[in-house]
Amino acid sequence: MSETAIASPSEAQKSKARPRRPSAFALLLNNRLAAFGLVVLVLVVASALLAPLLPLADPNATDPANRLAPPLSDGHLLGTDALGRDMLSRLLWGTRVSLAVGLSASVIAAFAGSLIGLIAGYAGGRTDQLLMRFIDLMMAFPYILLALAIVAVLGPGLINALYAIAIVNVPFFARNIRGITVGLARREFVDAARLSGKGPVRIVASEILPNVLPTIVITLSTTVGWMILETAGLSFLGLGAQPPQADLGSMLGEGRKVLFTSPFVSLVPGLMIFLVVLSINLLGDGIRDVLDPRLKAGALAKPSARTAVEKNRRWPETKKDETSDAVLDVKGLETQFRIGRSIHRAVGGVDLSIRPGECLGLIGESGSGKSVTAMSLTGLVPSPPGRITGGKVLFETDDLLAVSDKELRALRGGAVSYVFQDPLATLHPLFPVGDQIAEAIRAHQPLDRSEARAKVLDLMRQVRIPNPEARMEAYPHELSGGLRQRISIAMALANDPKLIIADEPTTALDVTVQAQVLKLLDGLRRERGTAVLFITHDFGVVSEIADRVAVMYAGRIVETGPTAEVMANPAHPYTRMLIDCVPVMGEPERRLDAIPGRPPPVDDLPDGCAFADRCPRAAADCRSGDIAMRDIRGRIEARCLHPLSPGDALRGAA
């Protein structure tokens, strides 16, 4: 039994020391427009709330003698209206009414709409159909007409206008919330709650509602302004606030009669509506930006066409740089991600070389940097936040990090091609697969349609797709996982690449299909002399296909050598432990020794060997300085000061 407790003390300390993400409120204030909106809104709301306490004239006291006094006249800061009532007082009392009505209408609409959305989305089936068709029916009427019809039935009045606006806005919330609920109701944590004995009401209230609440708030904050406008609209038409009560809409309506003689009477409430709605909308957009996870991840930032490369990057000088026969020669590649103030050294100095026709297996756990290495080679790491800060990537004689964008485009999918893990994600869902292979060919070769078609059929035969004439018309979703991955491989082969970079190409496939795809890739690279960089986490797969293997840990290669040698007698303790913790078929009694601890975070790598904390052989010298790769037994290289010899027992040292 070798389990490790979840919390090691060092881990707990680290999580405390790391910079915290700024709070939602700090993020909101960071957005200048939203902060402006917030300030204006706070001022407006405060003055409306304080209206009863302020030394204001009675808003409904008429004074015909003093009618239509201009702003800044004595005793009336904003003048008086057609009945001689104080405009400032009416404005503040009116804003109070308009805000209250708009807000309550929004809250009622949000509550009713979200409830309908939650029930429809969670229950599904008939209930969903019934509720949503009813909502559709409501949406089929023109918006303002429906509101007018409701007021016509209920009779004019502020409260009835409130109901009308709330009802009209219910569908908007219902549809939004239902969409999200449908997705959430099928999530595994809802199944888990069911198995924990929670009933449907409890699941909706305690499992789903907390997850849709941000969306409700976003929708609410972006619609409040709109609803205040609608309230004003109904009052303007005389269907909302009844005289003498002031609200912004009715003040506007009263001002209309004296628009040409005294424009300020309508201008004052008009400006207030403008300020209120503008500030609410700016604030609402700000809240949406803070709460929307897509914006938080920076997914809306436009990535550049290739990874940014540091101008004065360095690489280790070696004599044989220009003379080796390698098709790919990577020297000291370093790729970083800069997120906030922390720098994640995803790839921290990787050397690789692959000869023509050779298959190099790059193996590592998630987060070891193997995929970032592969993507860095042709500048496919998104920038920002990715950045290549060092090294060079010699492909034949060109440094891929220094070639022009045009040359790089010609190389991508041409002499260097990729096969990714999930073909369903990499193939376009709306085009037949044959067209997609043809597109890959014609991006690099000037062939006409019929020539391209012939080439597509030839490629599909090479990857052993049965009945290629029929299959080329199929869409990706119509093919099985194995066939889809064969299509990806056909696309990768389309322009006779010298190097194929295969990133976990069989991980998503079933074992019998995986065996076929491995066999296919192996045969193709031997026939064509294509070099393959094969990225995987599976030692079994590496053993099947790779001539040489490179083991990655915390952004660096820690061991490399011929596959059979590394698998039988690894020198680095990490490799040994990684091999030992996997169950092997045919050895059911094998003891599984888990590796204690976790890899160090790449934004906080320790000095010396990154594996030292987890290594049973670690000594004092492992924890300082840079540990270089060194020859072991003349056959393999390992980044280790105390390498294992064949037959060394690792556990004895622990």
Binding site: S2, I6, P210, D510, F539, S543, M577, M585, G586, P588
Partner: protein
Amino acid sequence: MSDMLEIRDLTRRFGGGRTIFGTTKPQLTAVRGVSLDLKRGETLGIVGESGCGKSTLARMLVGLDRPSEGAIRLDGKDLTEGGAKALAARVQYVFQDPVSSLNPRHTIRQILEAPMKHLLRLNGSERKKRLADLCEAVNLNPDFLVRYPHEFSGGQAQRIGIARALAAEPDVVVLDEPVSALDVSVQAQVLNLLDRLKRERDLTYVFISHDLAVIESVATRVAVMYFGRVVETAPSRKLFAAPLHPYTDLLLNSAPVPGKQRLRAGGDTGELPDPYNPPSGCAFAERCPRVEEDCRRIDPPLEAKARGDDHRAACLHPLPAD
């Protein structure tokens, strides 16, 4: 040892019926007449590739899905008797993806306490005691109970998932690919933990996986599924030593083994039959190297084939013993 769980002729169909315009909807049979027995204290490994119906079977076992036909009996009583809560108190489930099976907006304490509250109706102090016990069982630092799921790595989250399954004190735990979403170095931790918990708490496991090496290392008995049916079942050792069904043989020969470069069988297409239009005979016939004319007519039943009563296969022309 008695049969604790009996699965009889279990079938699950999806779709079917008629639309409001009277046309028939396409129908898919995910699980086709599966019968299995589970003895107390054993680990039944269910292995098969995607689309073979193993997850649908698992969901029916814990009551997340209802069978179209057939019965599941727990200690002789039909599973659906007594309602969902009674079932959940005896059979629990561990999900494949540990992170998405934990509600991102609940703390670990809320997640672990839910089954104690709603299934066992424990009061505050009893819950506190059980929480401490669970934390110790899965090596979870009790300080972490106030944290949220996104703060945990995959391996830690899966231990929390296991703790939640155990919180209800079940007799049977259905584990649906519990380690396939985890890194290899973490897999071993979780497998060792499951092994210890089983011994300490006298649990019975149904362990579903596509990984033959994992199944071989945990299961006492194995059922191989293909296209909605069990095509072979036997004690683990017997099945891995000498399989009867050509599909099992293909699976065993397809799995890559670390340190070995093996000759792979060629010619297999890896394609499943169309589930909307299943073949009349054996579903594996199209891919089978031992196929004969009668295979395409007769869908063979799961039966013993001269290797003892506990080694059964659904095949007309099973492999000979080596």
